[in-house]
Symmetry: C2
Subunit: 207 residues, 2 copies
């Protein structure tokens, strides 16, 4: 099942490449690396979207659940004038790679790096302005429910993979069911939109 | 050519209906009216998206080129704490209907109504925070070029129908060519994203 018409997808991808970014070489190298090693990162289009949203929101505190090697965190941090992005991953080697990326792009002063369970660590942070979910899909619903009290007024929740390859339409397995329940919960409780780029990006506003 | 997989489209549509809105009756009646009369308005999903974006942006001045009977303007105005939305359409009967909508939803104090050519009238307004394009597609490129100096710092440009039924992928006729040129121009000059909901919504940020 494809989500967007492949021609449209390529059209938008080609357009996105026209946007000049300062760290083009470093970022496109990371994109190739992710591709070669099959490491699931958000792509350029989703990166630009969260970058734009972050410029509008002007957050003081962004908390990422599942940062991998820091590709998505780059797009948040690069859009922030001040404040911090908390990168969390339970794999130490990912966080080490993320530190390298932030060093190379001069963003280290905007980052806090944490190794461990994302939900548990995130609980330490209050007044979260943007909460980004990209951890195991089976934990999406639990994650938002456990962290709701840590959100600031008018916070944004951004979640990746909310179409889960299209499986949410008719969910059969456990992960698909939980992502579908998560979507339903978000639309019932927040001003939400589900943007069908890549694998579906949900953006929710705490009204 | 379809843009999004129809199952995904319906899935997102159904989710969007879960969001409670204050003027549900008035708004869903307008949606039915547009449907019955084949009047092209943005739909609920696009409405919610521009509503969310407006809450983040907090504009003082929104200018719409091609307001029709005010459906899209409703979503802007409803998200604004203060400031004004300028509704422009060259058909007086559309603007009359828009006035009714704004009366019914208690938004009249947030609106300025104008009848005439949208680009010409928009030129009177300085410091535009959000410029919304939904006029004749053949005028998209000209419109942005003529109004660039009227944009505020960090303004947003939001344009509807930027996939133009998918025709921009391989543009044959004049309108499709101009919309494709518009997209290219926007991605070359602004931080832009093209969101494939409905007929394609471009959101561009003046960095
Ligand atoms: C999809 S990848 C993240 C990609 C990253 N957000 C990006 O787009 O650049 C998911 C990451 O989450 C981590 N992860 C999954 N579940 C986690 C959990 N419960 N706590 C911490 N990290 C987790 C995995 O180790 C993996 O690196
Ligand atoms: C697609 S409809 C607008 C729908 C409206 N934005 C909505 O989503 O609710 C386009 C409208 O633009 C108006 N229009 C087109 N070109 C125009 C122009 N150059 N100046 C003023 N109005 C124009 C048409 O009369 C029509 O009502």
């Amino acid at each position: 099942m494809f989500i967007i018409n492949p021609d449209i997808k390529n059209y938008i991808k080609d357009l996105s490449r026209k946007i000049k970014i300062e760290d083009e070489e470093i970022i496109s190298q990371l994109e190739r690396y992710a591709d070669e090693t099959d490491f699931p990162i958000i792509n350029r289009e989703v990166g630009l979207l969260i970058h734009l949203i972050t410029k509008l929101k002007k957050p003081k505190l962004v908390v990422e659940l599942g940062s991998g090697f820091g590709y998505s965190a780059y797009w948040f941090a690069k859009a922030m004038e001040d404040g911090k992005v908390v990168l969390i991953d339970y794999q130490e080697k990912n966080i080490e790679k993320a530190k390298e990326l932030f060093e190379k792009t001069n963003l280290t002063d905007k980052a806090i790096f944490e190794v461990g369970d994302a939900v548990e660590i995130a609980k330490k942070y209050q007044n979260i302005d943007i909460l980004f979910l990209d951890l195991e899909k089976s934990r999406y619903l639990e994650a938002i429910k456990q962290l709701e009290n840590n959100l600031n007024q008018n916070a944004l929740i951004i979640a990746d993979n909310t179409l889960w390859y299209g499986n949410v339409v008719n969910p059969q397995d456990n992960k698909s069911k939980i992502v579908a329940q998560f979507n339903q919960y978000m639309f019932e409780n927040y001003l939400s939109v589900l943007i069908p780029i890549r694998d579906g990006v949900l953006i929710a506003y705490k009204d």
